[in-house]
């Protein structure tokens, strides 16, 4: 078994201190978080954490269950890269003179799908989004032309197979747990062991 990139999606309440509680799940096990994003989700009042780590599936599964155990966490999913659609946003600051002078730069930006966000006399800011390799590539090609500043956002990801959280949230709000609440990926995926 090999370490692999996993994206963990966590649906939570909006609660001060929850970020620390979730972050310590990783730091306690000495696992480096590659990228972490928090944002609203499709369900009102529910926050969504997107966390990327490089780990063995076994470790990720246990982690997801420890995270889900936290009182303010509604659900934690983990997915491999082929199960999600993801993007990262990157910003690049380049000298405006440099772009004006060198036609090649303009071509490069165009090739990499970059879009100008701000153009000033002294500098121009471009934006691209994509996978890490794509945004990295543009850093590489801009370097010879004096890349002044570069920043990249955390990954945001959509789970291909997900039907969203609206239905689930309704279930969670019921005082008596419904079918959804008894789902347990771990137990259910073990069906083969029941053949005695």
């Amino acid at each position: 078994m090999q370490k692999e990139e996993f994206t963990i999606t966590v649906y939570t309440e909006n609660h001060i201190g929850l970020l620390v509680r979730i972050a310590t799940m990783f730091s306690r096990r000495k696992i480096n978080i590659e990228s972490l994003n928090t944002s609203p989700s499709e369900a009102e009042g529910i926050h969504r954490f997107t966390i990327v780590i490089n780990e063995f599936e076994e470790v990720v599964r246990k982690l997801a269950r420890q995270i889900e155990k936290q009182v303010e966490v509604l659900k934690a999913y983990y997915n491999t890269n082929d199960e999600i659609i993801w993007q990262e946003l990157a910003l690049y600051k380049v000298s405006t003179d440099e772009i004006a002078e060198k036609v090649k730069v303009e071509r490069l930006l165009r090739e990499h799908g970059a879009r100008a966000v701000v153009i000033r006399k002294d500098y121009t800011i471009f934006e691209t989004s994509g996978h890490r390799e794509e945004t990295d590539k543009l850093v590489e090609v801009l370097a010879p032309y004096g890349l002044i500043e570069f920043v990249r956002s955390a990954r945001v990801a959509i789970i291909k197979a997900s039907h969203g959280f609206h239905e689930k949230l309704r279930e969670f709000e019921e005082a008596q747990p419904g079918e959804e609440q008894i789902e347990n990926e771990f137990l259910d995926k073990q069906s083969e062991v029941f053949t005695m």
């Binding site: 201190g17 009182v71 771990f186």
Partner: protein, 578 residues
């Protein structure tokens, strides 16, 4: 951040009255049936203590000598009463002194609600006097924590705190309340207990297919073996567990926290698991064909080397915490649920059976252990007193009816191995965290949690010196506990390891003791010290019959070891008898 108070929707017609945040805290306690608080006042929690002055007829407050003592007392109370322990501490050092107890309660799943005072909200983050970020410090050692800066939040947050602490897999909750919120007057609409939090699933609906699968495995088994932990006690499922054991006829062994859930003299109780557990249960773990784990978490002190643990067996794991299933040992069938509910379902589906040959194998190992270890420990042939014979005499005098509170180390292992129990919630010890200094304060709490019972704190000469200041609490609260110090003039467990694994290089384990009887006397506690066998029985009798707390120090063999032992890194079946 919206406040939690908005979640608590109440009808407009409800009558309100103006009270302070502090009063709201105490009203919540009364509504939650709290009767005893262990605590220590200080600047930032003074408004709550001021309010407590008017509630002293409804709420008993035990003034401890250190906040660590307070929280361990809360744990002891929770463990013998089956209720939620409640602890007060002030901000800053008061709060940080709770951390060890929180960690202990977290790992041993003890329900606690701790209230800490905090500086005024406008001073947060300014390094104010006695300000500490207690929420972040306690996050990894609490099931839930929350800071209140507005009194209107208090009723709903406290309701949530008690609900979370007690439900599902219990655990400690810490609520930090800023001083302004304690002082703030607000329109109080009454207390509504919390019964549901949408993001929190204390227990699931039990899935019948897993029960069926588990029952099928059990019915086909030839050498099944039950191992049980504190889940049986926390789930208040002792009766259901006993019925399950008796119908299936399967031998059952316990973890240190499962001790007392099944009476010691039950014919199917085959003893203790783990590092210093009994011979048979350890060896036969690696021989059984179906291992049924009930409310236990496969701690490394129980399993020894994991890759050689019960590899031959199909494993059924009943637990209320889904993250425990598969965490350390892969389950063939995981039964997620409260064992109070899952055990009767399982009992219904299993066949009534007996396994005479299989049970007999446990007996055979038992006989060998008796011969090699137990007989000499309980009836020594030399003049030197052993810890085991002290426990044996205690058993004979209490008839197995006492609550035994132990500290951590050799005496803990010996006490848990040999103490007899007739009823549940009788063994109070620091299992997961191994907190030295736990026993004395925990025994105080244990007595308040079970006032009608005899409480004996068995403590080593190392552990007792860690929280000896709680003798002050014993004195002032006039609690009746029996303090039994087993003094081997060493930090015995570490010494044992140094002897066995570090070439007898006794590095800083030689610990001096004060005159404990004199110390006790200074606290107005009667006591005596003995070092000869002829006085043992009488001394124990005097201790038990004394009207009030009593300290008995027994000098035991300096370099006695606890056996059997599964050395670290070894498989349970490699357990050593010497």
């Amino acid at each position: 951040m919206e406040t939690l108070a908005t979640v608590q929707e109440t009808t407009v017609t409800k009558k309100t009255k103006t009270i302070s945040g502090s009063q709201a805290v105490l009203e919540a306690f009364i509504a939650e049936d709290v009767d005893t608080i262990f605590g220590y006042p200080g600047g930032a929690i003074m408004p709550i203590y001021d309010a407590l002055y008017d509630y002293h007829d409804k709420l008993k407050h035990i003034l401890v000598r250190h906040e660590q003592g307070g929280i361990h007392a809360g744990q002891g109370y929770a463990r013998t009463s089956g209720k939620c322990g409640v602890v007060f501490a002030t901000s800053g050092p008061g709060a940080t002194n709770l951390v060890t107890g929180l960690a202990d309660a977290m790992i041993d799943s003890t329900p606690l609600v701790c209230i800490t005072g905090q500086v005024y909200a406008h001073l947060l983050g300014t390094d104010a006097f006695q300000e500490i970020d207690v929420i972040n410090i306690t996050t990894p050692v609490t099931k839930w924590n929350y800071q209140i800066t507005d009194a209107t939040e208090i009723p709903a947050v406290l309701a949530k705190a008690f609900y979370i602490a007690k439900s599902g897999r219990p655990g400690p909750v810490l609520i930090d309340i800023t001083k302004n919120a304690q002082l703030q007057q607000f329109e109080y609409e009454g207390y509504q207990p919390c019964t549901h939090i949408r993001s929190y699933r204390p227990k699931p609906i039990i899935r019948k297919e897993y029960i069926t699968a588990a029952a099928e495995l059990i019915n086909k088994a030839e050498k099944p073996f039950i191992i049980f932990g504190q889940g049986v006690i926390l789930g208040k499922a002792e009766k259901e567990f006993k019925a399950f054991v008796e119908k299936t006829g399967i031998p059952a062994a316990w973890t240190i926290l499962g001790l007392s859930a099944l009476p010691s003299d039950h014919p199917l109780n085959v003893g203790m698991l783990g590092m210093h557990g009994n011979y048979g249960p350890n060896v036969l773990t690696n021989d059984c064909d179906v291992l049924i784990a009930v409310g236990m978490r496969f701690d490394d002190r129980v399993t020894g080397r994991l890759d050689k643990y019960a590899k031959q067996a199909k494993i059924i794991h009943l637990d209320i915490d889904p993250s425990e299933i598969d965490k350390n040992v892969k389950a063939t069938v995981g039964v997620w649920g409260d064992c109070k509910e899952t055990l009767p379902m399982l009992t219904k589906l299993v066949e009534s059976k007996v396994y005479p040959q299989w049970v007999n194998r446990f007996r055979e190992y038992q006989l060998e252990e008796e011969k090699e270890v137990i007989h000499e420990e309980l009836n020594p042939s030399t003049d030197v007193l052993t810890m085991g014979e002290v426990i044996r005499n205690l058993n004979e005098l209490t008839g197995g009816n006492a609550v035994i509170v132990t500290d951590v180390g050799q005496h803990q292992m010996v006490a848990c191995r040999y103490a007899k129990f007739n009823q549940s919630k009788s063994n109070v010890t620091s299992g997961g965290l191994g907190t030295m200094g736990f026993a004395l304060p925990a025994a105080i709490g244990a007595k308040f949690g079970a006032p009608e019972r005899t409480v004996v704190a068995i403590i080593g000469d190392g552990g007792v010196q860690m929280t000896i200041q709680e003798l002050g609490t014993v004195m002032q609260s006039e609690v009746n506990i029996k303090i039994l110090i087993l003094n081997n003039e060493f930090l015995g467990m570490v010494r044992q390891w140094q002897q066995l694994f570090h070439d007898k290089r006794y590095s800083f384990v030689d610990i001096a003791s004060p005159d404990y009887v004199a110390v006790a006397k200074a606290y107005k506690i009667e006591g005596q010290k003995i070092s000869q066998r002829e006085y043992l029985r009488d001394a124990l009798t005097t201790m038990l019959n004394h009207n009030g707390s009593y300290l008995l120090e027994v000098m035991v063999g300096k370099e006695n070891n606890v056996f059997p032992m599964v050395p670290q890194g070894c498989s349970v079946s490699e357990i050593r008898l010497k």
